[in-house]
Symmetry: C3
Subunit: 257 residues, 3 copies
């Protein structure tokens, strides 16, 4: 930090268990990745190599190493896991993960139907070798999952070895835990926070209004994902109360207006 | 490619006749242009130096050479052609193109009225020395061109020597071949695809939903333009079926759900 | 300029009094800042280090120096001034400004209530040592300031030593001088332009349609702020009549259609 103001919350240090920030990399060049790390690397816990981009982005190995050397854990977006699984190539997925030297994997079923016992079996198997993040929620706007099923699936996936569960929202932020107008599905989110446990969930929150909403509801140390590469520093200011939207959040009562 | 999955379509290699991707450069620095080429140069066929940006962007000659050395053909956006023509400076336009060492030009009339015979005469004259792309469609939302005129003009321009015709949509994607809500004008597009020929048309598709729509309608090898610089890799994943939106597109029936 | 067309307006040179462009930097890396300067430094008068980003962006001193050496004046966004003031740390704000070697400060009250006499006293005090830009307008969409108060406050702040006043719009462009649908509040803007003086005001105009509107209403040399880093070159083309939206703006009558 360049200057420390009073009444700014202490944030967890790396490796963090809370207050996680996961960034969406949808095909950054090595130059851009290095630039992001230079500006804001200490605020980033994970970089998701989005959907199938890792199959076609140049200098992937160098980018993975650059992130890892900066204390950031990169991983393959869940859609890539599904692209292997739908082809019956689970073992090849594991080999691809290993060839990149990754220690974190995501298990999801947002693009295809997968029996939930099968999904949990994948989680359990991968959890023996990697840290596993599992994602709940469909990418299709017309697939509606009842609230109780969100909670039940998340709890079951944690029981099978997932370290954290991700609540789906896509890059566009208008599905899963959000309504079509990008507003938060407050009842669903409250149920998940209470019954799954806030510390266990990473909320995809690609839009600024969504980030503000979560920080105001669940505090500076909420886990947020699908953050755009140029929104990492702005998100950190939101967490710390350094932007208009959260200006009074951490101030003591006598300074509040 | 870093890893080859089965059931991923074979894309044409450069110089491509189909499956073209045209990127909009609206003033990239040399550093940014080099970074884009590093990440995704082989997926880019053309870079349009948008509207009049090429008159005021620094290091233009170096940028043109950087693109050309990467196997990408840069060209001046049609608005710049019109800016010369409206001033009665067609010959100066040709000299400016030559001074930059370009081999591709765009002829358009999106910002000014131009007699169509005059436009076709410009196409014919330029086609003797350059590859010509011509654009049909107004930039004004309130100028409505009947469907039959789109088809007639495109066919006439191809007959006068245009290599491809571009269907206008602007950077904003809410005019020309799209409705004001950014959705596709399906009747117009079907008419053009059928009567002009899909291989002859480059569709401006700046928004992801528009890219998805065209790929699903017209296949992985549809020609798309006005792609943002950071959307080149994501677009390529859409074409190849490596993203949720086109996940099942290229799979054989027994793997479809 | 790479090529000079006739009927392009002469723009002021630096240091400009009119036709100012203020860019919003919300956490650029040093690499990105250098890239922006390379592409478009001569079109940028000021860089606002947005809200509290300057407290947590790495290599801040180097970035400040990079801008200053390029003839661009960086300054701390008004929210940071307020973050110090709400904590009763006005003197520390001054020391922080000095530690960075800045010569320009912004005084605002967009996130907190501040007695207007107190705000003017801050302006007067800071104006003894720095160039002061003061901002009028709330960041809260539900705080409605009567038109007459906008004019009165702006005039009073100029009388107390502000060099220019900024009309608030946020990064999102849907508050202050704009309606919730991002359209311009034309009556308010006309009142300000007439009664405060166009030369004295910097209009925040983050969206392209807003930039077009101001340039068409108030001319190429209108002062505009909150410009995104990748929109500097496109904005300059709008000012100069090098884009479809302002294509005919500077042409003599005999070339207009």
């Amino acid at each position: 930090m360049n200057y420390t103001l009073p009444f700014i919350p202490q944030r967890s240090g790396k490796p963090r268990q809370h207050g996680l920030t996961m960034v969406m990399d949808k095909g950054l060049s090595l130059t851009e990745a290095a630039s992001m790390v230079e500006a804001s690397g200490e605020h980033i816990d994970f970089v998701k190599l989005g959907f199938g981009t890792s199959l076609i982005t140049n200098k992937l190995h160098e980018k993975v190493q650059l992130y890892q050397q900066a204390g950031i854990r990169p991983y393959l977006g869940g859609t890539l896991f599904e692209l292997f699984v739908v082809r019956g190539m689970f073992d090849d997925f594991v080999r691809f993960v290993d060839s990149l030297g990754l220690d974190l994997v995501e298990v999801s079923d947002g693009s295809m139907r997968m029996d939930h016992r099968q999904k949990c079996a994948h989680i359990a198997q991968l959890a023996k070798r990697y840290t596993v993040i599992s994602e709940v929620g469909s990418k299709q706007a017309d697939v509606v999952i009842p609230d109780a099923d969100w909670v039940r699936m998340m709890r079951t996936e944690l029981e099978h070895g997932a370290w954290k569960v991700i609540a789906e929202a896509r890059e566009s932020g208008n599905t899963g835990i959000y309504n079509k107008d990008h507003s938060a599905n407050t009842k669903l989110i409250a149920d998940i926070a209470e019954q799954v446990g806030m510390a266990n969930v990473i909320w995809e929150a690609p839009l600024k209004a969504q980030q503000v909403w979560f920080i105001k509801q669940l505090g500076a140390e909420v886990n947020l994902g699908n953050i755009a590469t140029n929104e990492v520093v702005p998100l950190e200011t939101l967490r710390l109360g350094l932007r208009g939207d959260t200006f009074f959040m951490h101030l003591p009562d006598h300074l509040k207006q």
